[in-house]
């Protein structure tokens, strides 16, 4: 019990974290997560493609079996097309970003229900660094927190309560700070004066002032604007990114780091 208190106190005072333990646990467990993720994917594929189909064959007549078969094939084609569209969008974004990017796959979520982090399958070996920005074709996703292991990295999503990004209202160039909200569907935009012009539907983009997220990436759309009780407006922003089912993301990495491994992504 005392050990826990000491451990917490060390981190609060130095804000440095317990690197060795955290690194070891994360390094070992990210491999377990990778394996579990792969196994679950394989089982799901097997179930969808064979076991589920077999049970349908056993239960239905010949015609219904054919229809099911076709429907299943159609679903597969749709899923493939959707995936291809997603990859095309990623490719398009990579051209737009103008920085070295690395595509990554989300392999795990947070270990507790209280924080919003995910684990991606790219790490220090691929050039990912602490504070590397993570984006998707829809908008800003988050940033890499903690020191990445060789093959995995922890990403704090922008919806986490302690996450924030410098932001601009695209139309009027009014600056503020976008912070994680109560749930996956709302950001708060803080420090925008009651005198500034902000309207529902305005697009919010990154300002680049935080030194993490490059300027101009879409964060979301203004959903609620109210005159605040003090100096600042109450603004809610609806994220463009669907955080509940993130699969593929892009990591923005320093040129030197990525040059030695993937030369601008895969």
């Amino acid at each position: 019990m005392i050990g826990h208190v000491v451990l917490i106190s060390i981190q609060v005072n130095t804000a440095s974290g317990v690197g060795v333990f955290e690194g070891m646990a994360f390094g070992v467990f990210s491999e377990v997560q990778r394996a579990v993720n792969g196994t679950v994917g394989t089982v799901t594929t097997l179930w969808d493609g064979y076991v589920g189909l077999q049970s349908v064959q056993a239960e239905n007549e010949e015609l219904r079996r054919d229809v099911s078969d076709l429907q299943l094939r159609l679903q597969r084609e749709r899923a493939l097309a959707q995936r291809a569209r997603g990859l095309e969008a990623l490719l398009g974004l990579r051209r737009v970003v103008g920085a070295s990017t690395l595509s990554a796959r989300v392999i795990a979520g947070d270990a507790t229900p209280y924080f919003r982090t995910v684990t991606i399958d790219r790490g220090a070996g691929d050039g990912v660094r602490r504070d590397s920005a993570v984006v998707s074709p829809d908008g800003v996703v988050g940033r890499v927190v903690s020191t990445p292991t060789l093959r995995a990295a922890k990403v704090q999503l922008l919806i986490d309560r302690s996450a924030a990004a410098g932001a601009l209202i695209e139309r009027t160039r009014v600056a503020g700070l976008v912070m994680g909200g109560v749930d996956e569907r709302v950001f708060r935009m803080e420090y925008v004066s009651n005198l500034d012009d902000v309207q529902v539907g305005d697009v919010v983009v990154t300002s680049g002032i935080d030194g993490i997220y490059p300027k101009g990436h879409v964060i979301g759309d203004v959903d609620v604007v109210q005159r605040g009780p003090g100096l600042y407006r109450t603004i809610h922003v609806r994220p463009r990114v669907e955080f509940t089912d993130l699969e593929d993301v892009l990591v923005l990495v320093p040129d030197a780091a990525v040059g030695s491994t993937t030369a601008g992504g895969e």
Partner: protein, 170 residues
């Protein structure tokens, strides 16, 4: 042997929490499988095992999540010990009796976890509401109840099989 089973249980719970729970319920799934295992262990084996399971499970969970290392460890240590003590004082062997233990244990854990963050840091740093906490406690209770029933039912058939192998004529 018991320690190995507890370790395996915690490892499986962590793996499922980070992968399967996210696939089923999305980011921030309202369930804490590690806490469920800690409570199951505490009920089944007493306060000391509950305390250690809480410490190890909580610290590992902290290391994998985005929070301060030790907060989850401390919260789960307290819950493991309290539930173990409760289990030693009262009869909570039936799943029906364990249901309130899971629910109250989850609420105590949430109170400690969120409370420590509120004490240490200015403003809210964890993503939660009272509504979320109640849903999480309810989900933990359901999963814990199912696990308890499974653990009570599972030894029966395997024991019968073992006896049948030993005395085939019976």
């Amino acid at each position: 042997m018991r320690t190995a089973w507890i370790g395996l249980g915690l490892g499986v719970a962590l793996a499922l929490q980070t992968t399967l729970a996210r696939m089923v319920a999305g980011t921030g799934a309202p369930v804490d499988l590690v806490l469920v295992v800690v409570i199951v262990v505490a009920i089944a084996t007493g306060p000391l095992s509950g305390l250690w399971a809480g410490t190890v499970g909580g610290l590992l969970q902290d290391a994998l999540s985005g929070g301060v290392i030790g907060v989850g460890g401390l919260s789960k240590t307290v819950v493991g010990y309290l539930v173990g003590q409760f289990g030693a004082q009262f009869m909570v062997t039936r799943p029906a009796h364990q249901v309130p233990v899971f629910f109250v244990g989850s609420l105590i854990h949430a109170a400690f976890f969120v409370g420590i963050y509120l004490l240490l840091f200015e403003g809210d740093t964890v993503v939660t509401t009272y509504h979320d906490l109640l849903i999480q406690a309810a989900t933990n209770t359901v999963i814990g109840g199912v696990a308890s029933i499974g653990l009570q039912v599972a030894p029966g058939p395997s024991e019968r099989r073992r006896l049948r192998r030993r005395w085939p004529s019976r």
